[in-house]
């Protein structure tokens, strides 16, 4: 039987230096340098497609507002005045986008309200393994934006796509300066349920629709 002191050391050691169970063979490249970014982005997009999430690809930051407005016009009914209201937080990247270049969008800021139809958030990372979006709570991207509105649009930089949850957690800690936010939200497709007759139906409580605006510089 190990002594109490030895156990305490083993536990402290495990927490200080977490075991690496990663990477999975199925994603790891055969080349020692690892999988190329392009391959990861390809896998991420393929997984998103399987989840039924929509993908909007843009070639530059400047194109984001127009692409987003087009998506909203095609998929979400707008109000009588022809305006679709989107809600987002105080994320500096989102705020700096050239929103004035597009019409048809009315932008509200702050946490989600019951009447909001479209929430827009920025993801810290994407996980190629399963097409998972990684968001952190806070004033920049209030967590309710991803759960109350029927449509959730997530802006993600292609370069922020990583292979695994392990690496995505590192991205989170880099973005927050090592502090744990109240929530880290790993979102893999839209809200769904199979509780009635075993049939999978989207939009159980959260968004019926998740769209990713994937931009590459």
């Amino acid at each position: 039987m190990p002594s109490e002191a030895t156990c305490a050391e083993a536990v402290a050691e495990r927490i200080a230096h977490p075991l690496q169970h990663w990477p999975l063979r199925s994603i790891r490249a055969d080349e020692p340098a690892g999988v190329s970014k392009q391959a990861l982005i390809g896998r991420f997009k393929a997984q998103l497609g399987r989840l039924g999430a929509d993908l909007i690809e843009v070639g530059s930051v400047a194109e984001i507002p127009a692409a987003l407005a087009n998506y909203v016009a095609a998929n979400v009914a707008d109000d009588a005045a022809g305006l679709a209201r989107i809600r987002m937080g105080s994320d500096a990247f989102l705020a700096a986008l050239p929103w004035s270049s597009t019409s048809g969008l009315e932008i509200a800021t702050g946490k989600a309200e019951a009447a909001d139809v479209i929430g827009v958030s920025r993801a810290i990372a994407g996980v190629a393994e399963t097409g998972t979006l990684v968001l952190v709570s806070g004033a920049d991207n209030p967590v309710t934006l991803g759960y109350l509105p029927e449509t959730h649009i997530v802006v993600l930089e292609a370069g922020a796509i990583v292979a695994s949850y392990e690496e995505a957690m590192q991205s989170v800690l880099v973005a927050t300066g090592g502090r744990m936010p109240r929530t880290v939200n790993l979102i893999t497709g839209a809200s769904r349920t199979g509780d009635i007759g075993g049939k999978i139906v989207m939009g159980a409580h959260g968004p019926r629709r998740v769209a990713v605006v994937l931009w590459a510089a």
Partner: protein, 491 residues
């Protein structure tokens, strides 16, 4: 009626329940197919199960230290940690939190620990308006039932049952509305539950894992209901049990890779949320308080027993989806919070052997549950241990006599072989020209629900001896043939 006699009666009722049998025909099979596909797509699935087992074993071996580390880090993050030795203690702690918050409406996401301690009933007795927000749990609540599966609580209901209970429960909606598709019913439930989410004063969730390194809880749902439950009210209560802790996030990821694949066949659950404490100073949303209630309720004793491995369980439900007994009788007949093989292994430890050790008899010991368990719990041997403990319970004179006779027989090989020979010949005679026996005298409990395959040759031991003789003959023939070849090719 004893718990055991009740179990026998409930099994008969479940087998005769035609709607239940129709509901059971498809859904568990869908989970089985989903898991198979998910496993085929992940080449390292089997090695990952061993990683999962080792992570859980390590955490359980040092459970006290990891729980202390968890408590320290959770407290630093602003959560309040409460320890509950019994279900009654846990209920009282949650009641006090709700009273202190001046709560009226309480939303809940699915938590098997809350089912174990009957928390919803306790809160309702105290006049709180409590609503289950997982759709399956909501259905079970409004039908005054218990969950019949740990991940699909309403698996026993058909779509028309849901339509009926919605018409009865949602009386304020138009009586002539259409409820003929799952989509329409889900839209209706979404509207009803959305109002509750927005009105809630306290939100109660479970936790799938606790992470010691940061004092975080990891909560997964497909509906997103746990996120609305925890983020909208001013108080968040996480109710879970002490066995859920893992050392670090790197230990949680392999388990999460196993969980959804084993449960529904998804590669990852739609919403996996890591929650660390209450709202932070600049946060615009989230609760002002975060309480974590850690329940023991018999787990410490289980940890000290030979059956510790049961505590590895990550509650995926694969063992019940793959169990021929569960798929025949459904979850309610077990009359246990946790049905199926994991229920037979776990419930006697939580509810007491006298209440639940008989559940281990509802197994064919086919071992499929062990083959699919993501953390390799030796479910069959645990059930066997409960069976031998159950023998110490008082039972009928007839049962005692039969067991003694069997024990005698099994200890005397010559008499055993003789009796087995007679039995094989009589069964063959009973079957006549057929291969199956539809009815056995004195043993109709066996043949009431299935046919017995008639022996086609001698007894197993006779066939085994014959096989050995044949093999010896073949080996001798091979040796002489080899010798013959050798002498032919000799110079």
């Amino acid at each position: 009626m004893t718990a055991r006699a009740q179990f026998d009666a409930d099994i008969d009722a479940a087998l005769a329940d035609a709607p239940l049998q129709r509901a059971l025909a498809d859904v568990p099979a869908g989970f089985v197919a989903g898991r198979r596909r998910a496993r085929e797509e992940l080449p390292e699935f089997e090695p990952l199960r061993r990683v999962g087992r080792d992570i859980r074993d390590h955490a359980l071996a040092h459970l006290d230290l990891y729980l202390e580390a968890f408590e320290g880090n959770a407290t630093k993050a602003g959560s309040r940690v409460h320890w509950a030795a019994s279900g009654d203690d846990a209920c009282r702690i949650v009641l006090d939190i709700c009273r202190a918050a001046g709560a009226r409406t309480i939303t809940k996401s699915k938590s098997m620990v809350s089912e174990e301690i009957e928390l919803r009933e306790r809160l309702q007795d105290a006049e709180f308006d409590v609503v289950e927000t997982d759709l399956g749990e909501y259905l079970v609540q409004i039908r005054n039932e218990k969950p019949s599966h740990i991940i699909a609580p309403a698996i026993h209901m058909r779509a028309e049952d849901v339509a009926n209970v919605f018409r009865r429960q949602h009386g304020h909606l138009a009586a002539d509305r259409q409820l003929d598709t799952p989509e329409k019913m889900i839209a209706e439930a979404r509207g009803i539950l959305r109002d509750k989410f927005l009105a809630a004063d306290v939100g109660i969730t479970g936790a799938n894992f606790l992470v010691a390194e940061t004092g975080s809880a990891i909560i997964v749902t497909n509906e997103g209901n746990a996120d609305l439950t925890m983020s909208l009210p001013k108080v968040h209560v996480i109710l879970t049990s002490i066995d859920k802790v893992v050392p670090t996030f790197n230990d949680a990821w392999p388990l999460l890779r196993l969980l959804a694949r084993s449960a529904t066949g998804q590669a990852f659950t739609a919403y996996t949320t890591i929650v660390t404490g209450p709202r932070q100073p600049t946060d615009p949303d989230g609760p002002e308080q975060c309480h974590i209630v850690l329940l023991d309720n018999g787990r410490t004793e289980l940890l000290a027993s030979e059956m510790r491995s049961v505590l590895r369980c990550i509650r995926c439900g694969a063992c019940m989806n793959h169990c021929p007994v569960y798929c025949s009788i459904g979850g309610h007949a077990y009359n246990s919070v946790y049905p199926g093989p994991i229920g037979a292994a776990l419930s006697p430890a939580l509810a007491g052997a006298g209440q639940a050790a008989h559940l281990a008899e509802a197994s064919t010991f086919c071992g499929r549950c062990e083959q699919v368990c993501p953390v390799e719990i030796p479910l069959v041997s645990v059930m066997r241990q409960w069976r031998s403990l159950a023998l110490e319970q008082p039972r009928s004179r007839r049962a005692r006599l039969m067991l003694h006779a069997w024990a005698r027989l099994a200890q005397h090989p010559r008499i055993y072989r003789w009796c087995a020979g007679i039995a094989a010949r009589s069964l063959k005679w009973l079957a006549g020209s057929g291969a199956r026996i539809r009815r056995l005298p004195f043993l109709h409990a066996w043949t009431d629900y299935r046919d017995l395959a008639a022996p086609q040759g001698g007894t197993f031991q006779q066939q085994w001896a014959q096989r050995d003789r044949k093999r010896a003959q073949r080996d001798r023939a091979d040796v002489s043939a080899a010798r013959a070849r050798k002498s032919d090719s000799a110079p």
